[in-house]
């Protein structure tokens, strides 16, 4: 497994990242030379119109999709140099995921859903369930730990998903439209939980969104269009991190 030299304080450093889907002549170029840095501990939002490549970039950063060109170091790892299994284990140990549709298993309770992330790393069941309860408590859901997703509101389900994303203390959180399925007030609560969880763990959070109501939680906002980052602006979050 190779590591990549990365500037101290940077969690992510990508240069000239390209990603294509399909083959010529119907090839779609989803990323057209993305350059992106993410500072350790910052909340970085990727915003832009639908189809601009935000989610593709998130997948490339998380090592779920291979890039076709360019360099990308995440937490000091170049995912292209890792085997499929190593990449999966890297994600399991170092990255937390929050999905737009929560992706909670309906047959599991909230605490079981959260514990699953720890079980993937070989944590014993009893300890995993105990740590999952703590993670749920940290997002204000201690009293709903034994409820199934169907018994929770959308906002509560997303907070369970956040607990699942942070329970293993990852250094990077990748979030795909975490508030798009929620109303404004609930989205605010969810973002507060997410930012607080990231701050407490000094984790970097990269959030794909086109919900401008949550921009206030960003340290920086990277605007994407047509597969490129066209500009990066400082956010309005109170505890700002600087590169």
């Amino acid at each position: 497994m190779s590591t990549v030299a990365i500037q101290p304080g940077l969690a992510v450093r990508c240069r000239g990242v390209h990603k294509w889907f399909g083959k010529e002549p119907n090839r779609l170029e989803a990323l057209r030379g993305v350059d992106l840095d993410a500072v350790e501990g910052e909340v970085l939002m990727l915003v832009g119109p639908s189809g601009c490549g935000k989610t593709t970039l998130l997948c490339v950063l998380a090592g779920i999709l291979d890039r076709d060109q360019g360099t990308c170091a995440v937490l000091g790892q170049d995912s292209d140099t890792l085997s499929k299994t190593q990449r999966a284990r890297f994600r399991a140990s170092s990255i937390g995921f929050v999905f737009q549709q929560f992706n909670l298993m309906p047959s599991m309770t909230a605490v079981e859903n959260v514990a699953t992330q720890l079980l993937l790393q070989g944590v014993a069941l009893r300890e995993a369930l105990w740590r999952a309860r703590e993670a749920l408590a940290s997002v204000g859901l201690a009293d709903r730990a034994d409820n199934r997703p169907s018994q929770l509101s959308g906002g509560q389900q997303q907070r369970v998903a956040i607990a699942r994303a942070i329970v293993h203390n990852p250094r990077l959180l990748v979030c795909d439209e975490p508030t798009s399925a929620l109303d404004h007030e609930t989205g605010h609560l969810v973002m507060q939980s997410l930012r607080q969880a990231a701050r407490e763990r000094s984790a970097t959070a990269i959030i794909v969104t086109h919900d401008n109501r949550i921009f206030e939680f960003a340290d920086r906002i990277a605007f994407m269009d047509d597969g490129r980052i066209v500009r990066v602006e400082a956010g309005t979050a109170t505890e700002r991190k600087t590169p």
Binding site: M1, A92, S107, L119, L120
Partner: protein, 404 residues
Amino acid sequence: MVTMRRHIDDTHCSEIGLLFIAWKMLSGDMLKYVSMIAGVAFATLLMSQQTAIYLGLAYSAGAAVRDFSGDADLWVMDKAVAFPDDFKPMRSAVIDVVRGIDGVQWASPLLRSSAAMRLPDGTPQRPTVVGIDDATLRGGPSVMLNGQLADLRKDEGIIIDQRQAETFFAFVDSSGVRRSLGVGDRVALGQSSALVVGICRLSEALSSSPVVFTTSSRFRSFVPVEDRQLAFVLVKAAPGQELEDLGARIARREDLLARTPEQFITRTEQYLNESTGILISFSIVIGLGLVIGLIVSGQTFFNFVSDNSRYFAGLKATGMTDGMIVRIVFTQIGIVSLVGYWVGMGLTAVFGLAIVGSGSGFPYRLEAGIPIGTALGVLVVGLIAGTVSLWRVIRLEPAMVFRA
């Protein structure tokens, strides 16, 4: 970095953890879970129960050989005889010829033929009448429930089987009550009267024809002249005599067939398998059980995996390796197969107990090899169903979880 790298390489899901995830996913859709178990249970039931019935039939085909052999070492018969009920007449002088062959300690005739019978209430029957040696009573039933074998020597004496007494020979007595034929009852057999002097127990036989035992001398009074045939000769070899050699000598002398009881049973089972199509019929049903089990449980498991593809994709995205997925999928199909198998075997056992309890004499032999063979069949079903479903999960693109 070194610390983190070691952490990455060493992380793996414990078996308990995988079992937990697998079970939670599986039990989340109870309808599919029950459907899969039902599929495997049905396949198990069909495979094991049909095999048990087949083995019961095969075993019962040789019932007469087991019941009549006593301590005889060889059955002598016409070359064309394929099974015990397939009696083909031999010359009556054969008995004397066989007795004269070197190495024969004793030889007893076994006469078999059918005769018309009328029960006390006039109900007609046509049993097989078996005439055994008057002097030695060899070839008679070995288990007597009422009376003794020696009672056959009483005037007009016959012995019948208990189960057949309750079924074939049941009649309405003078008081209007339907009851079994029993000791002391008289029937008309051939042109004579016969008295039931004993009740025996015979093995469950493949033949549906009832049997009446009598002595060789009385056999002649019950059976028409033209049907008074020597069907078999039971032979006891002299001490130290090789049965193969003796059998070969008897066969050469009279152009007959001499077989040990075990060989005769094997010959009967071979006839059953090769000439009746019974083996093919049962094989088809057992094969269908396997295929139906595969289709029902395999299809349902595939649907289960498809329905859970979003969650599998989520697990892959968050760090589940292909190795873990293989273990989860096979843990799930393993649980289904194991539960389905035991449910199916339980039903097979219950079916068997019900058959035995009914006293119907339906042949059913749940031998030790059946659960093992059925388990192999279920294993095949599970492996195929698991592999096909696994192929789908392994090919899942984890990025799909990001699509709304």
